[in-house]
Structure formats: structure tokens, C-alpha cells
């Protein structure tokens, strides 16, 4: 076992533990903070996969923006921030069975995929995977269409959110 594996195991344990805490914490604020730790654990796993760009983007977007927005919205709903009720639903056995079955199906399909059993190759130190990623996002042979579609979708969502939230001038005059 080398150092990288130790780091991976630690990161995986931390993110799994905090993921469990996200759903079992009684205060919503604590759940949001555990979620931050989970996301950071995922960022560390990206680092161990030599994908520093994704690690940094994970922190920038998820910890720096999305988690903070979640915390904002949790703080603005102070009344329901603490949960005293029973944390386990009445039908938890059936739900657990369905989740287990789904997990089995997904893992079963994953094993059919060739990449599942492929041995990871260590990248050379000067590999420019960032440049490759950038090229494949904008090249017609790569993912330019999905990339542009996702951008248009996001802009539409943004405009929609503004349309709903905006204070119209004519409403104020009335």
C-alpha cells in the first residue's frame, strides 16, 4: 500500500461518513456543513486521480458557491432548522430493498462496461490533460454541441429566475 492509496482510503472514508451525517444530522445547518465536508472529500479523490482541474472546480463551484447558497437558504428558513421527529420513515424496509436492488442493477451494468475492469495508467508528469479537456469541449469532433446546449439551458434558467424574482416598475406604481 503506497501513500496515494492511504490518501484515497482516508478521503473515501471521510466523504462516506460525512455523507451519512448529511442525512442523519438533526440540525439542517449541520447537515449543510457536513455536505461541504463530503464535497471536499470528493475533491481530494479527484486529486488522487491526477485531475487537479476537477478538484479545484469542485471546490470553486460546489464548496465556494453551491454549498454557500444552500447555507443561505437554510439560514433564511430559521423556523424549521431543527428536527425533533422520528428520523426513520415507516416504510424504510421497502425503501431499503428498492435502493439495494437499484444499486445491484447499476453495479451489474457497470461491470458490463469495458472501462470498469481497465487498470488505471499513471499520467506522465507533463501531461496537459487540461488542454485536452478544453479542446474536446470546443471541437466539432468533441462535445461542442452538448456543451453549448448546456450553456443555453443555464442561461435560460438564469433569465427565468430573474423574470420570477424581478421587481417590476409598473407594479410599484399601482
Amino acid at each position: 500500500m503506497n501513500g496515494l492509496q492511504v490518501v484515497f482510503l482516508l478521503a473515501a472514508l471521510v466523504s462516506l461518513f460525512s455523507a451519512v451525517m448529511v442525512v442523519s444530522a438533526r440540525r439542517m445547518m449541520h447537515a449543510a456543513l457536513w455536505l461541504v465536508l463530503t464535497l471536499m472529500g470528493v475533491a481530494v479523490i479527484f486529486v488522487t486521480l491526477q485531475s487537479s482541474f476537477f478538484a479545484v472546480v469542485q471546490i470553486l463551484v460546489y464548496v465556494g458557491a453551491i454549498a454557500i447558497l444552500i447555507i443561505f437558504s437554510v439560514m433564511l428558513t430559521r423556523r424549521v432548522m431543527e428536527d425533533h421527529g422520528d428520523q426513520i420513515l415507516p416504510g424504510w424496509r421497502a425503501a431499503g430493498l428498492v435502493a439495494l436492488l437499484l444499486f445491484g442493477v447499476i453495479v451489474g451494468f457497470m461491470t458490463l462496461w469495458l472501462g470498469f475492469s481497465a487498470v488505471l495508467v499513471e499520467l506522465p508528469a507533463d501531461a496537459e490533460n487540461l488542454l485536452e479537456l478544453g479542446r474536446s469541449l470546443v471541437s466539432p469532433q468533441g462535445y461542442v454541441l452538448p456543451f453549448e446546449l448546456a450553456s443555453v439551458l443555464l442561461v435560460a434558467a438564469l433569465i427565468g429566475a430573474i423574470t420570477i424574482a424581478v421587481d417590476r416598475k409598473e407594479d410599484q406604481d399601482r
Binding site: N2, L60, G64, A65, M75, E128
Partner: protein, 406 residues
């Protein structure tokens, strides 16, 4: 002679050589040397804050026509040391109902987030913490960790004023991150790399502040907003918020927020000097690496001086003015700048470097001028609209108020 030209690099090489001489495996040598480097850098940066606090207080004093600290030591240089010793002896107070873990984690995270920034900044040719290939993105992402610490502090304190202060601060930080990231893209485009070392290397012929002054201006304004300095110091509006997110902290915990703020201000100046002013570049810096360190420090202090001048002279923004400036001026300008720069860069690809830089400079100045005109236009229209909605009320200027010759 080697020691005189590059003392830091010499010591690092000697230390790594000594470690591998002990018979450790290569992995262990790297781990121990990196850990030592981190420890030395972090301690040095924290101790440096003592000097920074004195420098800033002295300078603000001069701006306000006072002496500043002048009792302890020559020119009062040991005043922060005395303050530090005093803060060590203060009592820790934990407010009732505080969330203990988040309350105590926040100051640590605040300092750690700033210290992490130093890990990718190249201090000279030979002294770099780590040359990440996504260095610039890392610098911005780590800023997000700082935001987390403010939220933790505001929420953990169980105090409404602290919570409101944290809300306001984080809203400001998130908003100003947008123009910060967008304007940082311009040097990335010019250098063709995200690595901070690569960006410094790419400024061999011309500093990026010459090629992209508009981007430098946006980056500078946004980074002042990121450190919450005047004129963006709404977080410390005493009349509204008492003192912001850190009011429930005392003793060393408060001191850590204080250290984080000063160190962040200096680090942000250093990032600006690295990205736009050529970092350690200067005559003879490659042959004599210690000169590069001196150049970087001089440039950083020039930028830091300007932020202190801002702090000493400018009045505070109102929150709507601050948000308007961000979303209606800086963000569209930086988006337009990225497009203009990439178009100009594509058109002038065949030209020699001198003409390319000139073209960049012209398009930057054009955009800045156009923004200025648009802002004037909007201001005039707003004034006219206000006048039109209030019939019968003239403009209350100094001359009409006092009359003529009364």
C-alpha cells in the same frame, strides 16, 4: 557565491540533499521537505503580519496627519508585538448557545484559507511552493474556503448582528468573485496557461498590465472587494452591524480573524503583482534569484500602498451602489473585454508581438472609455428622471441653497 546569489534556493537544495543523505526513501524526503517548507512559509507569513499592521497603521496615521504608533521601539515598530502579547492574555469568551465546533473552527479556517494562497505563488525563480497546472483557479477556489469561515463565524456565534454581518460579507464576496474570475481569464488567455509560474514566465517582454489595463483595473477593484477593505468595508459598518461577523470573538480567536484580514490584503496585492506586474521579473532576476524576491516584494508593496491609500481616503459605498457597480459595470465590462481580447488576439496572430500588444492596449482603452461614457449617460438620465418625477422641486445645489451673495 551561490549562497549570495540565491540564499533561499541554496538552503532548500542543501536541506533536501541532507535529508536524502539520511537514507530516507525518495517519497519520505519529498514529504518531509514539503512539510518543512509549508511550516516555514506559514510561520514567516504570520510573523510578517506584525510588520504589516505597523506599516498600515503608520501610513494611515500619516494620511490623517497624525504620527501613528510611535511609543514602543524606534518609530513604534514594536507596537504590534505589544498588542499581540496583550491579545494572548485576554480571556476567551464563548457565548451561550454558540455552536462550539463551528465557532472554534471559523478562525482557524480563516487563517488557513489565506495561508493556502501562498502555496502556489512563485516567490523567485527557484522558490515556488508547488507549481500547480491550475494555479490561478486554485487561488480563487481557496478564497471560497475563506467565505465558509465567515459563515461559520456568523452562524456559530448565535448572535443576530454576527449573522447579518456574515450574510452581507458573503453576499459581497460571492458577487465580486464573478468579475474577479472573468478578469483573471484575460492574463490566462495572454499566457496560454493557468499555472501561476507559467503566467509569470509569459510576462518576459511585457507586463500584462500594459497589455490589458482594463482587466487589471477590474481585478484590482474586485480584489479590494474580496478583502473587504474601504470603500467596500460595509462588513464593518459600525452604525448598522456593530462590527460584522466577528463581534462575539475575543482574545486570540479575534486575533486570528485580524491576522487573516491583514494577511489577505497583502496576499491579494501579491497576487496582483504576480499576475499583472510580472511577479519576480526584473533586470537580472534570472541570474540572481534573490533579486527576483526583492522585485516581487517592491511591486507588492506598491500595490498594497495603493489599497491603503484607498482605505485612508475614500468614503464607504452604499450596498446598492456596491452591487450596481459589480453587476451593471464590472461584470459586463469583463465579459465584453474577454470577447474583444480574443477577437483582437485572433486577428493579430500573425503580427509581431509589439503590434499585438498595441492592439490589445487600444481595445482595452476603448472599452474603458466606452464604459466611462455609458456610466455618465446613465447618471445623467437618472438625474433627469428624478427631476421629472418630482415636479416643482428644483435641484438643491449649494448655490441655490445659499442664494447669491446672501
Amino acid at each position: 557565491m551561490d549562497f549570495l546569489r540565491d540564499p533561499f534556493g541554496f538552503v532548500i537544495q542543501w536541506y533536501v540533499g541532507w535529508l536524502s543523505g539520511l537514507g530516507l526513501p525518495a517519497f519520505g524526503v519529498e514529504l518531509i521537505s514539503k512539510l518543512t517548507g509549508a511550516l516555514v512559509l506559514a510561520t514567516g507569513a504570520m510573523l510578517f503580519v506584525v510588520f504589516l499592521i505597523w506599516y498600515e497603521r503608520k501610513l494611515i496615521g500619516r494620511i490623517q496627519d497624525r504620527f501613528g504608533p510611535n511609543r514602543v521601539g524606534p518609530w513604534g515598530i514594536f507596537q504590534p508585538v505589544a498588542d499581540m502579547l496583550k491579545i494572548f492574555t485576554k480571556e476567551y469568551i464563548t457565548p451561550i448557545g454558540a455552536d462550539k465546533v463551528t465557532y472554534n473552527l471559523a478562525p482557524i479556517l480563516a487563517v488557513a484559507a489565506v495561508l493556502l494562497l501562498w502555496s502556489v505563488l512563485p516567490l523567485s525563480v527557484t522558490v515556488v511552493g508547488t507549481d500547480l497546472n491550475v494555479g490561478l483557479l486554485f487561488l480563487i477556489a481557496v478564497g471560497g474556503l475563506g467565505e465558509m469561515s465567515y459563515i461559520l463565524a456568523g452562524w456559530g456565534s448565535n448572535n443576530k448582528y454576527a449573522l447579518l454581518g456574515a450574510f452581507r460579507l458573503v453576499a459581497q464576496l460571492i458577487s465580486y468573485e464573478v468579475p474577479l474570475v472573468l478578469s483573471a481569464l484575460v492574463p490566462v488567455m495572454l499566457a496560454g496557461t493557468l499555472s501561476v509560474t507559467g503566467i509569470v514566465q509569459a510576462q518576459e517582454n511585457v507586463w500584462f498590465i500594459v497589455a490589458a489595463p482594463a482587466a487589471a483595473l477590474i481585478f484590482f477593484i474586485a480584489s479590494i472587494a474580496e478583502i473587504g477593505r474601504s470603500p467596500f468595508d460595509l462588513i464593518e459598518a459600525e452604525s448598522e452591524l456593530v462590527a460584522g461577523y466577528n463581534i462575539e470573538y475575543s482574545g486570540l480567536k479575534f486575533g486570528m480573524f485580524f491576522v487573516a484580514e491583514f494577511l489577505h490584503a497583502f496576499t491579494v496585492s501579491m497576487i496582483f503583482a504576480t499576475v499583472f506586474l510580472g511577479g519576480w521579473r526584473g533586470p537580472g532576476a534570472e541570474q540572481i534569484p534573490v533579486l527576483g524576491f526583492v522585485y516581487l516584494m517592491v511591486k507588492t508593496f506598491v500595490v498594497y500602498f495603493v489599497t491603503i491609500l484607498f482605505r485612508g481616503t475614500l468614503p464607504r459605498f452604499r450596498i446598492d451602489q456596491m452591487m450596481n457597480l459589480n453587476w451593471k459595470v464590472l461584470t459586463p465590462l469583463s465579459l465584453g473585454l474577454i470577447m474583444a481580447m480574443s477577437i483582437v488576439g485572433g486577428l493579430t496572430r500573425q503580427l509581431p508581438a509589439f503590434w499585438q500588444v498595441t492592439a490589445y492596449l487600444i481595445i482595452n482603452l476603448l472599452l474603458l472609455g466606452a464604459t466611462d461614457q455609458l456610466m455618465h449617460f446613465a447618471q445623467n438620465r437618472k438625474t433627469k428622471l428624478n427631476l421629472a418625477t418630482q415636479p416643482g422641486k428644483g435641484v438643491l445645489t449649494t448655490s441655490s441653497k445659499h442664494g447669491s451673495g446672501e
